[in-house]
């Protein structure tokens, strides 16, 4: 018995030892990490159809943007702001003038190599700031340099070097080509921005004279432009701000009340033929086009019903109704939604 016990204990010890050594943790299954993420379906109307207001204002029933200081009303102004006329770019604070000053300072300092990184960023700002307020005087000379710059890219660096040596005004443009060794690329990227600065270079005639012209132009622009370089709208507001976006986006769809209004307008003009009163299934669908003023364009088309006899009479009455009520009063900003209208006439609904 002792031999048996000893053998058994040894056997088990060996087995357990083997198990501990060899039966390590089984290799984990390699499963691709796919994480389920929740998907919410949000009606896009909340985002696309927002009323005008402030982003951080409390929700209010009436769409009111931030109150403005100026109260003189401007016709057809859509954006709220202090400007005299509606301007496309958003109102910008006084950050703009500063980079212009910085841009003019660096040129005299004799550091051509570290600057190039800054200058290309600043020059466009300078150009923009000047461009926005004075559109007319500058537009005229612009087209010429653009056309000429594209065909011959080579002269650009040459002139740039010359300019560096010549005058103090030019340098802002001059280091740019040095920083970019590939000639075609910067042209495509820069052509619209450099406008004024590159003009002389591109023309390849008298660089200095061109810049002088430019300076004169700038001075004229500065005199003409009393408006701040910032954008902003001209719409005024007196009430407290309500939650909304800077501009009301009404979306494309006609609202239910607008559709109801249209339906009521057509119904008023609709004289149901007497014979059709008891005739069921006299449904007529009329399709017609409207122009932006609300008038019917062309002849309303009957796309359903109007087969013969009473039905035709009903269809004709429907068409007449559409034409009679002609100028429809619908929101012009949603014109795309009501340019084509299909109206279903159902006599059974009327009575």
């Amino acid at each position: 018995m002792r031999a048996g016990l000893a053998t058994s204990v040894t056997l088990h010890a060996v087995l357990i030892g083997f198990g501990i050594v060899s039966l390590q943790a089984p290799r984990a299954f390699e499963v691709a990490d796919v994480e389920a993420f929740p998907v919410d379906i949000v009606p896009v109307g909340d985002i696309s159809q927002v009323q005008q207001g402030e982003k951080e204002a409390p929700v209010a029933t009436r769409p009111t943007p931030k109150p403005t200081q100026r109260q003189d009303p401007v016709e057809n102004a859509q954006k709220v702001g202090e400007a005299d006329t509606d301007l496309k770019p958003p109102p910008t604070p006084e950050a703009k003038p500063r980079p212009v000053e910085q841009a003019s300072e660096p040129p005299p300092s004799p550091k051509p190599q570290p600057k190039p990184v800054e200058k290309p960023v600043e020059t466009p700002q300078e150009a923009k700031a000047e461009e926005v307020p004075v559109p007319t005087p500058e537009r005229e000379p612009e087209p010429q340099p653009r056309q000429e710059v594209k065909p011959n890219p080579a002269p650009e660096p040459l002139v740039a070097e010359n300019a560096e040596g010549e005058s103090v005004k030019l340098p802002p443009a001059a280091p740019v080509p040095q920083a970019r060794p590939q000639p075609p690329k910067p042209q495509i990227a820069k052509a619209p921005e450099r406008k004024e600065a590159e003009k002389p270079a591109a023309e390849q005639k008298q660089a200095s004279r061109a810049t002088k012209d430019d300076q004169v132009l700038d001075q004229v622009a500065a005199l003409l432009n009393k408006e701040k370089a910032s954008g902003g709208g001209a719409k005024r507001s007196t009430e407290q701000a309500a939650l909304g976006a800077s501009q009301a986006t009404s979306g494309d769809k006609l609202s239910q009340s607008e559709m109801d209004a249209l339906r009521a307008q057509i119904e008023r003009c609709w004289n149901v033929p007497a014979g059709a009163l008891d005739a069921e299934n006299l449904r007529v669908s009329v399709k017609f086009k409207l122009d932006p003023s609300g008038a019917v364009e062309g002849r309303p088309e009957i796309i359903e019903g109007g087969g013969s006899g009473v039905a035709r009479a009903a269809a004709e009455s429907a068409r007449r109704a559409v034409l009679q009520c002609a100028p429809y009063n619908l929101p012009s900003e949603k014109y795309s939604a009501w340019a084509d209208v299909i109206v279903h006439f159902d006599p059974t609904d009327m009575f």
Binding site: G4, T7, S8, V9, H12, I20, Q24
Partner: protein
């Protein structure tokens, strides 16, 4: 109730770690099952060896017995030695025979019964010795899976309690506790399967040996019966003649 720490997901899942992470009930069950396994293997090895020895002894004894050697001599050579199997049956029968003849047998029928009884007793004792502890194998084979299952149920129960506490149904949280609990069933089966197989094999072997010894006992009984007849018959004839 002690708090149960769930294995960290992706933690150590080796056998040893599983054992170490288990609760004390499961640990106790595992240790008990391991002990049962060790003991049953000890029995298996012991029985296997003793059965082999017994078979060898039986063969040798049969060889000697049927070699034509005088039974008296054989008895003399075996009586002072420790015998087993057929040898002990033979010795028991011969002892009874000798005792009866030394004191003068009164009835041949009584002698025959006494010898048969003595041989039966020796056979039973031998079989008892042969089959001792096989019962343990039977109980291990029958109950170890249940004991393992008990450990598993307790382990899963506690691990589910822990999962409820951790408020996560992630499989990585659920799995280690269940794996650790299932280890108890694995050990139970590991102990039970060899025990069952060995029990069946050993009982069959024991039956074989028993039938061989019974056969020998019957044969020897027949031989002795003949001897008794040969020794008692002349006496009876003589008695008849005297009468």
């Amino acid at each position: 109730m002690e708090s149960i720490e769930l294995a960290a997901p992706g933690g150590d899942l080796s056998i040893w770690a599983l054992f170490w992470q288990a609760g004390w009930v499961v640990k106790l069950v595992m240790i008990g099952l391991l002990g049962a396994s060790i003991w049953s293997w000890a029995i298996i090895i012991d029985k296997w060896l003793s059965f082999a020895r017994m078979r060898v002894a039986l063969n040798r004894f049969e060889q000697v017995f049927w070699s034509g050697q005088s039974l008296e001599e054989l008895y003399r050579s075996l009586s002072d030695r420790k015998t087993s199997g057929m040898g002990s049956i033979f010795v028991a029968a011969m002892r009874e025979w000798k005792k009866s003849f030394e004191k003068g047998a009164r009835s041949p029928l009584g002698l025959q019964t006494r010898i048969d009884k003595a041989m039966d007793l020796a056979l039973t004792r031998e079989m008892e010795r042969l089959e001792s502890k096989l019962g343990f194998l039977a109980s291990v084979g029958a109950s170890a899976p249940f004991i393992g299952l008990f450990g598993t149920v307790v382990g899963i129960m506690t691990s589910f309690q822990a999962i409820a506490g951790s408020k996560s149904t992630n499989l990585a949280v659920v799995a280690p506790g269940i794996a650790e609990a299932l280890l108890a069933t694995a050990i139970g089966l590991l102990a039970a399967i060899p025990a069952v197989i060995a029990y069946n094999k050993l009982t069959a072997d024991a039956g074989n040996i028993a039938s061989r010894m019974e056969g020998f006992a019957d044969e020897f009984s027949a031989i002795l019966s003949r001897q008794i007849d040969e020794k008692v018959a002349p006496k009876a004839r003589a008695v008849e003649e005297y009468a």
